[in-house]
Symmetry: C3
Subunit: 367 residues, 3 copies
Amino acid sequence: MDFLSEFLTLFLGKLQSPTLGFLIGGMVVAAVNSRLQIPDPIYKFIVFMLLIKVGLSGGIAIRNANLVEMLLPAAFAVLIGIVIVFIGRYTLGIMPKVKIVDAIATAGLFGAVSGSTLAAGLTILETEGIKFEPWAAALYPFMDIPALVTAIVLASLYITKQKQRRAAEEQLNKQLVAAGGYPSDKGIVARGYPQSDTADEGVKIWPIIQESLQGSALSALLLGLALGLLTRPESVYESFFNPLFRGLLSILMLVMGMEATARLGELRKVGQWYALYAFFAPLLHGFIAFGLGMIAHYITGFSLGGVVLLAVIAASSSDISGPPTLRAGIPSANPSAYIGSSTAVGTPVALALGIPLFIGLAQVLGG
Amino acid sequence: MDFLSEFLTLFLGKLQSPTLGFLIGGMVVAAVNSRLQIPDPIYKFIVFMLLIKVGLSGGIAIRNANLVEMLLPAAFAVLIGIVIVFIGRYTLGIMPKVKIVDAIATAGLFGAVSGSTLAAGLTILETEGIKFEPWAAALYPFMDIPALVTAIVLASLYITKQKQRRAAEEQLNKQLVAAGGYPSDKGIVARGYPQSDTADEGVKIWPIIQESLQGSALSALLLGLALGLLTRPESVYESFFNPLFRGLLSILMLVMGMEATARLGELRKVGQWYALYAFFAPLLHGFIAFGLGMIAHYITGFSLGGVVLLAVIAASSSDISGPPTLRAGIPSANPSAYIGSSTAVGTPVALALGIPLFIGLAQVLGG
Amino acid sequence: MDFLSEFLTLFLGKLQSPTLGFLIGGMVVAAVNSRLQIPDPIYKFIVFMLLIKVGLSGGIAIRNANLVEMLLPAAFAVLIGIVIVFIGRYTLGIMPKVKIVDAIATAGLFGAVSGSTLAAGLTILETEGIKFEPWAAALYPFMDIPALVTAIVLASLYITKQKQRRAAEEQLNKQLVAAGGYPSDKGIVARGYPQSDTADEGVKIWPIIQESLQGSALSALLLGLALGLLTRPESVYESFFNPLFRGLLSILMLVMGMEATARLGELRKVGQWYALYAFFAPLLHGFIAFGLGMIAHYITGFSLGGVVLLAVIAASSSDISGPPTLRAGIPSANPSAYIGSSTAVGTPVALALGIPLFIGLAQVLGG
C-alpha cells in the first residue's frame, strides 16, 4: 500500500496547490452568494495573457529545438495529441449522461501537457542517470497545441451538427404540422432524410476549422506560437508574460470556480465516469506514446530516456495551458468536469504511477 | 524641540512617499479638470487585487504562527481592533458636523495595522536588544481584519438605520398630509413612535453583517484569508500578489485623490477634529494595548518586547491594507478624511512618539 | 558596402524585436479576420501605465540631474525637440498626398528619444574612451517631452482650424443657396473672407494648448513627470511601472497593429516620402543638435562627448515613449506611418550611420 499512501499524499497536496485552491475558493465564494466579481474585460484580458504566454513558450521551445533530428518524435507527438482527443471523445463521451462537449474538453486537457509533470519526469530521469536528448523536453508543444486545437475544432463541429439537426427537426415538425399530418407517425420515416442531408453531409468541416482558428482563444494561442517561432520575444516573455502567468492563472481559476458552483450538480450522476477516465487515460496515453517512441528508437535511434519523456508528456494532463484555452475555446463545456478530472485524479496518477512505470519499462527494455 | 523637528521631518517625508504622492497627484489632476481617467473595470480589479493580497498575507502569517502559545495576545488583538472602531465612532463621530460614516471609516483605518510602522517597531526592538516572541509580529492580522470588518459592519448598520428612519418619516408625513392634518403640528408627537419601532428595534443586525460579508470588499479579504490559511499560496503570493501590491496601491491612491478633490470642501469645517483625533488616538490605542499586553505578560509570560509590539500594532494606522478595504466597503465615506488623518498625522505620531514611549515604558517596567 | 550590410542586419534584427514583432503580429491577426480583441478598458489602462512610466522616468532623471550646470544644453534640448516637429510639419507635411496629422505625429516620434539608441551611444562613447558629463544622458526628457507636447498641440491646432474652415464653408454654402445665388460662381470671391476671419485669426491658441494638456495622454505624461520630480516614487517605479513597461508596450503594439491593417492602404501612395524623411531626418536633427552643442561647448565648456550625446538624442526616434503618447494624443494619425518610419528606417539610420558620424566629427574637432 506504499503506492496508495503516496497517491493520497499527492492528492491532498494538489488540493492545497494555488491552482486548485483558487478554484475551490471561487466555488465557496459563489456558494455563499458573495457579490465578489471579476470584471469581464479583466477576465478576457487574463485569458488573452495566459494563451499568448502558452503560445510564446511553445514557439520559443520549437525555435530553439533541433527540428531535423526531432522530426519523427515530433510527428508522433502531434499524432498522439490528436488521437488522445478522439479516444476521449469515443470512450468517456459515450458513457451514459456524459455530455459530449464535456468529454471532448476533458480529453483535450488530457492531451495537453503539464509542465510540472514534465519537470518531475526530467528530474527523475536525471537522478536515475538515464540519458535523453536535450531537445526531448521541447516535444511538449507538438502534443500540447494540436490536442487543444483538435478539441476545440471537434467541439465546434459537434455543436454545429447539433444545431443543424435541431433546426432540421424543428422545420420538419413545422412542415408536418402545417400539412396536417400526424407528427408522431410519419416522423420516423421522414426524419431520416433531412438528417443525412444536412447534419452529416451538410456540415462542412473547413469553414468550422477556420471559424475555430479565428476565435479569440486559438488566435491568441497561434499568435503567441508564431511570435515565439519567428521573432525574438525572449526579453518580453521573461520579464512580463512568464512572471505574471501563475498569478493570472490563479485569478482565472477563481472565476472558473465561481462559475463551476452552478454547474457542479451536472456532474453528480456522471462523476464515476470522469474518475474512471482520469485514472486509466494517463496510463493508456503513456503506453501509446511509449510504443510510438520505441518505433522511433529502432528507426532513428531516439534514446530510451527520450521514449520515457514522450510517454510522460502523453500521460500528463495540463492544469496550466489547458484550462484557459478550453474555457475560451469551448465555452459551453463544464470546467468542473475537466479541471476536476485532471488536477484531482489525472495528475496524481501520472506522477505517482505513470513515471515509475515508464522508467521501469525502459530499464527492462534497455537491459 | 527635538521631537518636533523629528516629527516635521517625518511629516514632510510622508508627503513624498508614493502613497501620498499619488493621492495628491490625483487631487491636482482633478483640480485642473484633466480628462485622465482610470476605467472602472480596472479600478474594481485593482481593489480586488489589493484586498486578496491583504487577506492572503494575513492568512499566511496566521498559518505559520504558533496558535496555542499566542492565544491570549491574539484574543486581545481582536478585542483591541473592535474596541478602537467603537472609540472612534463615539469620540470623533460625536464631534459637531463630523459625518458618522467618515468617523467610522477613520476609526477603522486607525484600528487597521501599518506594516511599515510595525517594521520600524521590530527594527528598534532588535537594535535595543529587547527580546520578543518570533510570532509577535503575526499578531497584526488579528487586529487588522477585525477592525476593518467591524468598521464596515458598523457603517452598514448606521446607513441602514438612517434609511429606515428617513423612510419612516417620509411615510409619516405622507399619512399626515393624506389625512389633511397639519404636518408641522402633529409631526412632533407622531414622530416618536415609528422611530423607536422601525429604526431602533426594527434593524436586524445579523442580516446586515451577512450582507457586509457578502460585499465584494470583505468577500475578497476573507477569501484571501481563507486561501492563506488553508492552502499553500506562497508561490503565487510571492511572485504575483505581493510584487504588484505597491504599484496597484499607487494607482488606487491616484483614483482616490481624483475623487477626493470634490469632497475636500466637506472637511473644511471639521479638519480640526480629525487632526485632534489623529494625534491622540494612536497613543490611546497603544496604551490600551500595552495594558492588555501586561495582563498577558503576568498570566502567560508574554514577553515585554511582545507587549511593546502589541502596543505598536494598536498605535499604527494602516496606509496600506485599510484604504482599499474601506473604499470598497464604505463607499460613502470621504477618503480625504481617513487617509489624510492616518498618513499625515497618525503615522508620524505613532512612529516618532508612540514607539519610543512604549519602549521606555517597557524598560521602566522590566527594571 | 560595409555600411549597407550593417544597416540591413540592423533592419532585419529590428523586425524581430518584440516591439515590431507584436505590431506585425497584430496586423496579421487583423488580416485573417480573427475575433481576437483587447478590451477597451484594458487598452486605456495600458496607455495610462506607459505614459505615467515615461513621465516618471523623465522626472526622476531631471530630479537627479545637476540642473545649474546643464542649463544651456537642456535649453537647447527643449529647443531642438520643438524645432524637429516644425521641420517635419513643413517638409514631410507638404509632400503630395501626405496627411498633415500623420506628418506631425511622425515628426513628434522623431523628436522623441529612443532609450536604446541613447544606450548604444553611451556604450560606444565609453568604449572609445571619449569623456562626457555624467548628467548628459539626463538631457533626454528635455527633448522627449517637449517634442511630444509640441506634436500634440500642433495637431490639435491643425484639426481645430480644419473643422472651423469646414464649418465656415458649409455655413457659407448654406447662405448662398438660401439666397438663391450660384454657389460655384460667388463661392470663390466669398470664400476668402470667412477663411481669414475664422480660420486664421479666429483660432485661439491658448485654449487649444490647455485642452491638449487636459487630454488623458499629456495629463498622464505630465502627472508622471511631476511625481518623478517632486516626490520619491523610485520604489514603486522600480518594482511596478518599469518592469511592466516592455510587456504592456508589446500589447499596445499588438492593438496598434490590429488597427494598422485597415489603414495600411493609406500609405501606399506616400510610402516613399516617409522613407525619404525617415532616412534624412535623423542625420539633419543630429547635425542641428551637434551645432547647438558646439555653441554650448565654447560658452560653458560642455564636453565634446556631451555634444555627441546631444546629437545622438536628437537623431534617435522613439519606439518606446512615443507610440503610446501619440496614439492617445493624436488619435486620428495613422500609427503605421509613424511607427513604420521610426522603427524600420529611422532607428537603423541613427544607429548605423548617425552615431559613427557624430563621434568621428567630435574626434576631428577635438583634435
